[in-house]
Amino acid sequence: MKLIPAMLAAALACAGLPVLAKVEVGQPAPAFSLADSNGKTRSLEEFKGKTVVLEWTNAECPFVKKHYGSGNMQAQQKEATAAGVVWLSINSGAPGKQGQLDGAGANALMQTNHSAQSAYLLDPDGTVGKAYGARTTPHMYVIDGQGVLRYMGGIDSIQSADTADIPKATQYVKQALAELAGGKPVSVPVSQPYGCSVKYGS
């Protein structure tokens, strides 16, 4: 019976550790509102009824470059938004950190990248990133029209910074969007995110 107090003690001790917030597939995604690159406030609530993709990004991260440099990310953004999906890129970099952008910078970046997200959201104090437990760039989330999280994890199945791996990899977000659109359950709802760390402020 010593196990019970021991387990309790362990559980208690660990509950005291602050970690990134936990979100869970099948549970409502945390609500948020953030200014976009044009200064307009956008919220998750605003897109109720639509499938929403969240993409944590940092244009200077080699893993993000892998997917933008190859055009993979833009192609997925175009395909998704054409199908009525809302695609929000979020930059949770703190001021002064690598890849952090202001609205004008983000607009310029989208222009040069030919990217096709619905909006580029700025999260300089990292609140939304931390609420979602975003760890890497890229780190992807798919939320259904009811506001329920349906996918979280990596953009694809091969953890590398090498563009050549993209055609060989399973594109998890694309797959999840197709399955959701077809009324099917998401076959890979969770995968290990990979990439650079999100550059949160301290």
């Binding site: 010593k2 309790l8 760390s197």
Partner: protein, 740 residues
């Protein structure tokens, strides 16, 4: 000129050939210098030779281990070797846990080396020069990351089998890295996964001391990357880690690496850990060690004792058996107590009395007693099996789940009313007058006794949730076999009085003789059942609101009509043929609300969630996290409408003016979670405290630190003292890590 060329080649990312034996020219890349080195000055034919990728990191920069942690990417090597030669995998030295704000990575900094064994075939020609080439891919990060790759060559002479070449200049580095490889050990392992926590217990020879010790899982998506807690107890080491947010149940044993860094010395161990229930887990059956320590006894509770249990000390294996035995005995006692619950007692007291009637036929009585036992145990086992299966399928359920479904609550209310009416004499269950246990000789008695046992379990279920939620909740956190054993013991306890009566006829003789008084007794016993029905209806109102409950009440009225109608038919000799279908139709009508209930159920939660001016706010994980981040003191109360002890506690300790004053005075936030209906977030929170049922009271002190769990029965003084402590601040040194 030569050095100019080398610089040029280096800039192009190409690497020059070796300048001397065993040492290629180091390649300076961004923030990292890489070099292919060998342990010896020559390669020996017919054996493994150690080579290594030397990584010299700039200060603050690091590369990654095989499991990179929250971000990053493991270093990767591709070898080009002479035909017949083979390169082994990277023999990863002990990693460091590297903190980046709130993220944790596993990797290397400063001077590091990744050793690889190169197998040179025996027929390699001595005296020849061999070129070994590796294409290395890495990611080097400080906070920002830079991917890099290089092609590195090494030319070494090959010497004959059995030669012992001299050490190279890099031998010190290679040997240091080899010494930091985790040493494979075969400690016994046991995994207890409870909700968000994963506890791994290690036992065996040569366990390291817990100080300066860290633990890492080689495979990702099992343990979270935040620091683990390691403690020694009873000759075992327990490693407690948060579960990965990206957790995927391991299908094969995973590898745990323990690393001890003390006074510049690094030692590491690697143990294979079987995941409970995973296929191929060596521990699903116990493998007693040759040390004869008798570990076989502990198998019932630990499904994941892995091989190599030889060294497990006998004391600790005994402890597991004791734990399970105690749980079984407690469950048995709990089952016994259930007999006195208002929903069970009326049914069972009557059963006992019919047994007394059969005291003259001891064999039949025994048979009936056993059948009844089988019924009760079957009932509880089925209930537990359903629950375990649902949990296994990922549902966030705890004990009390049967009361979280409005349909089941309504069904139980119907059942209580129907049994009450039967006791009141409105109708007779079973076709024959005289009730159950009438025909003892033809075996019908045993069958009816079995179903009475099953019924006892069903009627006991609403009472078992509020009174026994905690004990059963603990059972649910145990491996399936142990959990089922505890539930079986509960059923056995429930059946025990009747079984004893049936086996010891002397006792039955002490029971009052059956007679006319029994009818009055039955009439009386109907009322606790009606009251139980009232309670269930009240729970239903909390769950689905007054409107939907009204439909259920209408259904109940029709049910009463149907049963009365049926009862009248039973008393009339030669009842009209139309009565049967009419009665059945009425019954169907009565059941209609149950079928549409899921559609009707509108959550009236809004009314409860945040009554203005209330002391408390609705609990959400986000709100708790936010308050905790700000270091605010918080009192969390997890409750449910069907939880009697929760309600009692609220009346006794959580509704007084003094309590309100204490909260206000201390600036303590009061968060209340309502588990009356299913709520996955609350189930997970309960699991963090190794609970699977309500009530749960947790007090978080001001300024962070270890929360305090209050007992399940509260007194005003106890609550007051806990809140005073919380308002004052952390009493123990906070485990909270200060932000970087």
């Amino acid at each position: 000129m030569r050095s100019c060329l080398r610089v040029l080649l280096t800039l192009c990312g190409l690497v020059t050939t070796a300048a001397g034996p065993a040492l290629a020219t180091p390649l300076r890349s961004e923030h990292l210098t890489v070099e292919l080195v060998a342990q010896k000055q020559a390669l020996v034919a017919g054996r493994d030779n150690w080579l290594g990728l030397r990584l010299n990191h700039e200060t603050h920069w690091h590369t990654y281990w095989t499991n990179a942690g929250d971000s990053g990417l493991a270093t990767r090597l591709e070898w080009t070797l002479p035909p017949g030669w083979q390169a082994g995998p990277i023999a990863w030295p002990a990693p460091e846990r590297l903190q980046l704000g709130e993220l944790f990575n596993f990797g290397y900094s400063g001077e590091a080396l990744l050793p690889v064994a190169i197998n040179v075939p025996a027929d390699a020609r001595p005296g020849s020069n061999a070129t070994v080439t590796v294409q290395a891919h890495w990611l080097v990060c400080r906070e920002e990351c830079i991917p890099g790759q290089a092609r590195l060559d090494l030319q070494l002479p090959v010497v004959a089998t059995g030669s012992e070449p001299a050490d190279s200049a890099a031998a010190v580095l290679v040997n240091a890295a080899l010494a930091q490889r985790p040493q494979p050990v075969s400690w016994a392992t046991e995994v207890v996964a409870t909700g968000e926590q994963i506890g791994i217990r290690l036992r065996g020879d040569g366990l390291p001391a817990p100080d300066a010790l860290d633990a890492f899982a080689v495979q990702p998506q099992i343990l979270a990357n935040t620091p683990v807690r390691i403690a020694a107890a009873d000759g075992a080491l327990s490693v407690t880690a948060a579960r990965s947010d990206y957790f995927a149940p391991p299908t094969a044993p995973f590898d745990l690496v323990l690393v001890r860094r003390k006074a510049g010395d690094v030692r590491a161990w690697q143990v294979s850990v079987a995941w409970p229930g995973a296929s191929g887990a060596p521990g699903t059956s116990i493998q007693p060690g040759d040390g004869g320590s008798g570990s076989g006894n502990s198998g019932t509770r630990t499904t994941a004792l892995s091989a190599g249990a030889a060294a497990a000390p006998p004391a600790s294996t005994g402890e597991d058996a004791v734990g399970l035995l105690a749980a079984v005995l407690l469950a048995l006692a709990g089952g016994l107590v259930l007999n006195l619950m208002p929903c069970v007692f009326p049914v069972l007291s009557l059963k006992a009395l019919t047994l007394a009637e059969t005291a003259h036929a001891p064999a039949a009585a025994r048979r009936e007693g056993l059948a009844y036992l089988a019924g009760a145990v079957t009932g509880f086992l089925s209930l537990a099996a359903v629950l375990l299966a649902l949990r296994g399928a990922g549902s966030q359920l705890g004990w009390g789940f049967q009361l979280q479904s409005p349909t089941l609550v309504a069904v139980l209310a119907y059942l209580m009313v129907a049994m009450g009416l039967s006791l009141s004499g409105a109708f007779v269950i079973g076709a024959r007058l005289g009730g159950v246990g009438q025909s003892l000789t033809d075996g019908g008695g045993a069958r009816s006794a079995f179903f009475t046992g099953l019924l006892a379990c069903v009627v006991a279920s609403p009472c078992s949730a509020p009174f026994m939620g905690t004990a059963l909740g603990f059972a649910l956190t145990q491996p399936a076999a142990a959990a089922l054993l505890v539930f079986a013991a509960l059923g056995a306890g429930l059946a025990l009085p009747i079984v004893v009566l049936s086996f010891v006829p002397v006792l039955a003789r002490w029971l009052p003789r059956p007679g006319a008084w029994m009818d009055a007794f039955k009439q009386l016993m109907a009322w606790p059942l009606y009251l139980t029905a009232v309670w269930l209806i009240w729970v239903l109102m909390r769950q689905i609101g007054a409107d939907a409950t009204a439909f259920v009440l209408i259904g109940l009225v029709v049910l009463i009509a149907a049963l009365l109608f049926h009862g009248r038919g039973q008393w009339q000799a030669g009842a009209a043929a139309w009565r049967r279908p009419a009665g059945a139709a009425l019954l169907l009508l009565a059941l209609a609300p149950l079928i549409v209930l899921p559609q009707l159920a509108a959550k009236p939660a809004a009314a409860d969630a945040q009554a203005a001016g209330e002391l408390w706010q609705a609990w959400t994980p986000q709100r708790l996290d936010a308050l905790r981040r700000d270091g605010e003191p918080v009192f969390v109360n997890m409750t449910a409408a069907w939880c009697i002890s929760c309600l009692a506690n609220e009346k006794v300790a959580l509704s007084s003016d003094a309590f309100a004053e204490r909260l206000r005075g201390g600036g303590i936030h009061y968060l209340k979670g309502d588990w009356t209906s299913q709520d996955a977030a609350i189930t997970r929170y309960l699991a963090e405290f190794a609970r699977s049922g309500v009530p749960l009271y947790v007090v978080y002190p001001r300024g962070g630190g270890t929360p305090e769990v209050l007992p399940q029965l509260l007194t005003p003084g106890l609550v007051d003292a806990a809140l005073t402590r919380a308002a004052a601040g952390a009493s123990s040194p906070p485990v909270t890590r200060s932000p970087p």
